[in-house]
């Protein structure tokens, strides 16, 4: 009996028991009594008591079972001849386990063949015991709950308490995710800061993450100064991308809200939304394939001979295009929120539409627009695929847009997709970079939120 069979059996028992509970309740109602709760609730009550204890038991039995199986196999005669060396022992045992489970056809070590029947036997034995106990619990739970189906039994209250427990559990998962992110990043980063000092990491200007594989290896000096990375991120995401996105996004929003007729706005706006929906890997490929060579040719044409084919300008341009919808939609919402009265008053005084926009509407909508820009910046600096594909991996501290710079996210990808063991400073550096990135985007989002909330004028 495997876990699957036990699980299906428990669920089946619970469904049948629930059905019986409901019919019993309906019968009681038909016999002339006024039930406190609807029959459905009685049914659910029985079903819950059948399934929950059994599931909890199965969840606890699984690790217990693997331990007991391990012990039984180690006590068997074939296991006495296993080598004493820890790692070899472990590998033989895990091979035998995989063969017994059918995940593998043959192992590398000859001893594992002998252990397979032991694993199968012990595994089968404990699985049967566990399955039988689970089914027993299910039936017992169902029987006990069935006895309580009476006219004045408050089944609905009990069931609703279980549902509330489920809701709270779901919310806890949502909340724990944030905690999980922070803790896991913090934990790994602390291990990194044990190897590399925080001041070197935060303020160093040399980034060449090598770790020595042997003590006397030449060129093994690792420099983990992250300033070039953050400069690259800011250069591409906060400067070049914003130079593209802010004017285009803002003017698009102004045009769509103030000048465009309703019919044009109806299809123009979704068109801009499509820009936001395109996957970033497509933008990255477009940048690498078309934009980067064009930028390099342009750079060479205007005399910058060192123009690289992986330039900050190419990545920044495409990232700016991607960000336009974010700026545009936030600006759109804030401009639309300014009451008509202000607009009409300004026009009545004789201002042209553009003067109204520049001198009345935009200042009134400014907090929202600024919040939108900050959120867009936060999105841009967290962007990965465009910079991995179009910008390079060379950590340069340069202000030349035709040169190749790298960003924090590109380095995280680079550090973690190589073949490195998990403990080296190189891979841990990725977690430290991730922590810093998380903190920076968090701060940007909080500032955006406070700016919008505090400075937004309350009209009427």
């Amino acid at each position: 009996m495997t876990h699957m069979i036990a699980l299906v059996a428990v669920l089946g028992i619970s469904a049948v028991a629930g059905w019986f509970g409901r019919s019993r309740a309906t019968g009681l109602r038909g016999a002339g009594g006024r039930l406190h709760s609807l029959p459905n609730y009685h049914g659910f009550h029985v079903a819950i008591w059948a399934v929950v204890p059994a599931l909890i038991f199965l969840a606890a039995w699984t690790p217990f079972q693997s331990q007991m199986v391990q012990r039984a196999v180690l006590a068997s005669p074939e296991a006495q001849s296993l080598p004493a060396f820890e790692m070899q022992r472990e590998s033989i045992l895990s091979e035998a386990k995989e063969i017994a489970a059918g995940e593998r056809d043959a192992g590398f070590n000859p001893e594992s063949e002998g252990l397979v029947p032991r694993f199968r036997e012990a595994g089968g034995r404990y699985a049967t015991i566990g399955g039988a106990l689970a089914i027993f619990l299910a039936i017992a739970g169902a029987a006990l709950a069935f006895r309580r189906v009476k006219i004045d039994f408050r089944a609905r209250t009990k069931v609703e308490r279980w549902v509330m427990g489920l809701l709270i559990g779901a919310s806890l998962i949502a909340i724990l995710t944030t905690l999980g992110i922070v803790l896991s990043l913090l934990f790994e980063s602390l291990r990194f800061f044990n190897l590399v000092s925080p001041t070197e990491f935060l303020f160093g200007t040399q980034w060449s993450p090598q770790t020595a594989l042997r003590a006397d290896q030449a060129g093994s000096s690792g420099a983990f100064g992250s300033v070039p990375l953050f400069w690259g991120t800011a250069f591409i995401g906060a400067i070049i991308a914003m130079i593209v996105a802010i004017p285009l996004g803002l003017m698009s929003a102004i045009f769509l809200t103030q000048y465009a007729p309703a019919k044009v706005r109806a299809w123009m706006k979704p068109l801009l939304e499509i820009l936001a929906g395109v996957p970033t890997v497509v933008y990255g490929y477009f940048a690498a394939l078309t934009v980067a060579p064009a930028v390099r040719d342009f750079g060479i044409a205007i005399g910058i001979t060192s123009a690289s084919s992986e330039s900050a300008l190419a990545a920044g341009l495409v990232m700016g295009i991607m960000i336009i919808p974010f700026v545009s939609s936030m600006a759109d919402d804030s401009i639309a929120a300014v009451p008509q009265a202000m607009r009409d008053g300004s026009l009545a005084l004789g201002a042209t539409k553009s003067e109204t926009i520049r001198k009345v509407l935009l200042p009134a909508a400014l907090p929202g627009v600024v919040g939108g820009v900050l959120l867009a910046v936060s999105r841009a600096i967290g962007e990965t695929m465009i910079v991995v594909m179009a910008a390079g991996l060379a950590a340069n501290l340069t202000a030349n847009p035709f040169a190749s710079v790298t960003t924090v996210t590109a380095q995280i990808v680079q550090l973690l997709t190589g073949d490195q063991e998990f403990d080296s400073a190189k891979t841990l550096a990725a977690f430290a970079l991730g922590l810093l990135l998380f903190i920076i985007t968090l701060i940007l989002n909080l500032i955006a939120l406070t700016v919008v909330r505090r400075y937004r004028e309350a009209y009427e």
Binding site: I175, T409, L446
Partner: protein, 404 residues
């Protein structure tokens, strides 16, 4: 005075023109992107085929036609030297340059033709086989000068044609770009999205219900609201780091499996669903709730029998948009190990697999020019999926949304 009014009117016209220019430029960028991908990618859906005459009895192939009738046919074909036979016949027909004309796809197509009709082995047969990547590139545009020359020569004999590349949608990753397909990636995407949906939707909706209807309003719940809003804005690569640290290193789940990918993407999509759910639930008017309470429903019954059904369209719209975003994500999946070359489609959620955006990323790194059109073709497929999902969300929103 006149002059000033003229200036102001001119400035007005310029401003309006600037706004129109901005919108047009954005639309132009989108059009440029789509056109570029379509232009480069449409070629990926077609493949070049060339005619080849193989004299099977005279070739070095030692296959027993009777063996091809049973269930062992695949193995028999797999162990035969189809590459050699094809290469020999091509060199005999088109000259020594053509020895490498047909690639892996050609041998595979030959194998399929033989299984379908084993009697071919007893005679000389003329077949249309797909050519290898270099010849494909040379025929469709321009490539290696030797192959340009060769394809021109064969074309002059009228023995070349372009056909729809059905292999692209049914085959998996391979080293020869003329033989690659996206089926493995599509299956991986499907499994991953299933896992994501099954995890994120219930947890997101139930959390939204609790936080909006039942949770007390105090500083702790304010903090929770801020933290969930922030989670929705966290860069996706951070979720990848979380997945790496917790699911792979702490829980030792299998690398690169749809299970882990789905778990990571579920963590990323869940805040989006919670936020969309809260907005939808808030938009249900209090009168509905009061009326239900007035009729005698309990709080839980009000929520599940009245509020939730009315908020469901909004929740579904938000979910589909969240799923569409998860579908296009690459960075977190790269972090959990989906960077390997997977040649076979996954058969379960614990097998190593790839997803379509990651497959696109891996192909974009390849040097072989034949991969350019395949990558762009895969991008076209991805964009079609995105368009369908977003279109579905907009349709649902327009059809079912109620304004109170």
């Amino acid at each position: 005075m006149e002059a000033r009014v003229r200036h102001r009117n001119a400035s007005e016209k310029r401003f309006r023109a600037a706004g129109f220019f901005a919108v047009s430029l954005s639309a132009l960028f989108l059009a440029l992107l789509l056109a570029n991908m379509a232009w480069k990618g449409l070629g990926g859906f077609t493949r070049t085929e060339a005619e080849l005459t193989i004299n099977f009895p005279k070739s070095d192939l030692l296959i027993d036609p009777a063996a091809l009738h049973g269930g062992q046919a695949q193995e028999v074909i797999g162990s035969a030297d189809l590459d050699g036979a094809v290469s020999q016949a091509a060199a005999a027909q088109y000259g020594p340059d053509a020895a490498e004309l047909f690639g892996a796809a050609g041998s595979r197509a030959l194998g399929r033709a033989l299984i379908k009709d084993p009697t071919l082995l007893q005679r000389s047969a003329t077949l249309w086989l797909p050519v290898g990547s270099k010849a494909d590139v040379a025929y469709k545009s321009e490539g290696d000068p030797r192959y340009d020359h060769l394809m021109a020569k064969i074309d002059a004999q009228d023995k070349v044609r372009l056909r729809f590349n059905s292999d692209f949608l049914t085959a998996s990753d391979a080293t020869d770009p003329s033989a690659v397909g996206i089926w493995g990636a599509l299956k991986g995407t499907f499994l991953t999205i299933m896992v994501t949906m099954l995890l994120a939707f219930p947890i997101g909706v139930l959390s939204a219900l609790y936080l909006e209807e039942f949770a007390p309003r105090n500083r702790w719940t304010d903090l929770i609201e801020v933290s969930i809003n922030n989670l929705a804005a966290v860069p996706s690569i951070i979720f990848g780091l979380l997945g790496l640290a917790v699911f792979l290193n702490f829980m030792h789940l299998p690398r690169s499996a749809p299970l882990v990918g789905g778990l990571t993407l579920a963590l990323m999509t869940m805040p989006v669903i919670v936020i969309a759910g809260r907005n939808a639930i808030t938009s249900v008017p209090p009168s509905i709730r009061d009326a239900a309470l007035g009729v005698g429903a309990s709080k839980m019954q009000v929520v599940f029998h009245h509020v939730l059904p009315l908020a469901l369209p909004g929740i579904l719209t938000g979910t589909i948009i969240g799923m569409a975003r998860a579908l296009g994500e690459t960075a977190p999946l790269l972090m959990i190990g989906m960077r390997a070359f997977i040649a076979a489609p996954p058969s379960g959620i614990t097998d190593p697999s790839s997803v379509l955006p990651v497959q696109i990323f891996l192909w974009s790194d390849e040097v072989d020019r034949g991969f350019v059109e395949k990558t762009s073709a895969a991008i076209i497929v991805l964009l079609i999926f995105m368009l369908l999902m977003n279109g579905l969300a907009i349709y649902l929103r327009n059809r079912f949304e109620q304004r109170w």
